[in-house]
């Protein structure tokens, strides 16, 4: 392979230092969006350039990397990013949540609980939770600074007025460490409780928007709600068709053009671990397994 010689994990050391400083500041102020000088990456914006830069900045030679896209280890995006770091940093990669030291994710938090020492890196498209009600960045920054968050409840109010319940199903706003309101990236709200008091460090990178924010380990993360319309998780009311799990977040998969469908765990690693341990659902088809990278 005659690949040009990249610096370890693609980014030059100065850039990594700059990003690490932003990360340190983000950890020091949980939930606060720290601006950083986002770089052009060899992939389009929207493909996880923010997460990739954060991962590149924290990755060491001994790390074990897992990359998931909507819970899955085997989608194009997940594979590409995993291979990217395999090639530019030569780190070991894995699909196992437990074995990974760094997990880059798009739109999910793994089902298996994270442990101390792990870092979860989120890819974030739009970091500003107030954006859709207040388009002015100058104004939203001031609102964060003064903790003026009434507007966030306006959005939830609108949900209830329109649908009878809080219909926001993903990117559900949270308050971090009783101070900053934060967009958890477009994870399903099912995952919100996992952010609370989590043993792992959670880092959020938004490449196009040039923002990094963080939730340090064991930080309080509360989903916003009303007293009379409390926050609730949501999942399809079915067991996983492959592993029979009834407490995991499910994807709905259309299987034919006659209305056939099945529900399976969105977290492929979780599902496979369960099947390997002898759990079974109503469908027997074994999922495709990616060849381990060498």
């Amino acid at each position: 392979m005659n690949a040009p010689t990249y610096n370890f994990a693609y980014l030059d050391e100065q850039t990594k230092r700059m990003i690490r400083r932003a990360i340190l500041k983000a950890i020091a102020i949980p939930g606060y969006q720290v601006p950083f000088a986002s770089r052009e990456m060899p992939m389009p914006y929207g493909w996880g350039t923010g997460g990739v830069q954060v991962t590149a900045a924290i990755l060491g030679p001994d790390d074990v990397l897992k990359v998931i896209d909507q819970g899955s280890d085997d989608t194009t995006n997940a594979i590409s990013i995993r291979k990217f770091f395999g090639k530019t940093a030569g780190v070991a990669t894995t699909t196992s949540t437990t074995d990974a030291t760094v997990i880059q994710t798009r739109h999910r938090i793994p089902e298996a609980s994270l442990h101390a020492g792990q870092v979860l890196v989120y890819q974030v498209p739009i970091p500003e939770p107030l954006r859709f009600l207040e388009p002015r960045e100058t104004e939203t920054r001031r609102m964060h600074a003064l903790a003026e968050y009434g507007l966030m409840h306006v959005k939830l109010y609108e949900d209830i007025a329109r649908f009878g319940h809080i219909a926001t199903a993903y990117a559900y706003p949270v308050k971090v460490n009783a101070r900053y309101v934060m967009d958890p990236s477009p994870t399903p709200k099912f995952d919100n409780p996992k952010m609370d008091n989590c043993a792992a460090l959670q880092l959020f990178g938004a490449g196009r928007e040039k923002r990094i924010y963080a939730i340090p380990p064991y930080t309080t993360v509360v989903s916003l709600d009303f007293e009379d319309h409390p926050f609730t998780r949501y999942r399809f009311n079915a067991p996983c068709a492959l592993c029979g799990a009834d407490d995991s977040y499910l994807d709905e998969i259309v299987t034919d053009d006659k209305g056939g469908r099945m529900f399976v765990c969105s977290d492929t690693d979780f599902c496979e671990q369960r099947q390997a341990a002898g759990h079974h659902g109503t469908e027997s088809a074994a999922p495709h397994k990616e060849k381990a990278h060498v």
Partner: protein, 265 residues
Amino acid sequence: MSELSSLDNDQPLLVAEGLAKNYGRLAACRDVSFALYPGEVLAIVGESGSGKSTLLQLLSAQLAPSAGHVAYRMRDGVLRDLAELGEAERRFLFRTDWGFVHQDPAQGLRMGVSAGANVGERLMAVGWNHYGRIRDTASTWLERVEIDVGRIDDAPKTYSGGMRQRLQIARNLVTEPRLVFMDEPTGGLDVSVQARLLDLMRNLVSELGLAAIVVTHDLAVARLLSHRVMVMKGGRVIETGLTDQVLDDPREPYTQLLVSSILPP
């Protein structure tokens, strides 16, 4: 008997002293001093460019004066210089103890958000966290400003001009402010719609014992709403006094001109 009315309150709510604003060599506002008492409605009249809108912005701390200062009596009874308030305090004042009614309701409302949420926003901003109670309060206020409660979930962009203006008023009054600033509140409305709005504002102001500062070029608005009037010309206050006194017995040439320019009803 006299204690019943807030007008007899002897502590001013807002005090302006030597207020001035220059834009380069242009003096938009010069040497304005007055005191506003609780429950008192002051009209600032004058033609376009007379400095009345600049003055309103100075008084409501949206613009920093070139000279002079404005002090406001906070809910704890202490008179504070607005320039010395922190931004958080100033913004809190704006969301709670003050209201600001814009001439163009689109400036004071969230046009794409339901009427209920428009009214409820201030409540949520001060920590109300019960959907049912927020909605009930919003409904009550829609009724008070004569908007059909059936329209509570519609966005103001579907409302008529008069309804939007009434909604803006409800949105401002829901936190029971003590002072409301109004910038040409009836401007741009049909005459029949204006009359209804004026009547509504007049009642709300007296029922709630609100103090208000109303900028208008319409002397009929000043007569119907205000106790006192200040006539502005070229950035200066040229005449001030009881509204009916200034309008029925104007002294200054310019005021006489203004008054004589009204078409008889």
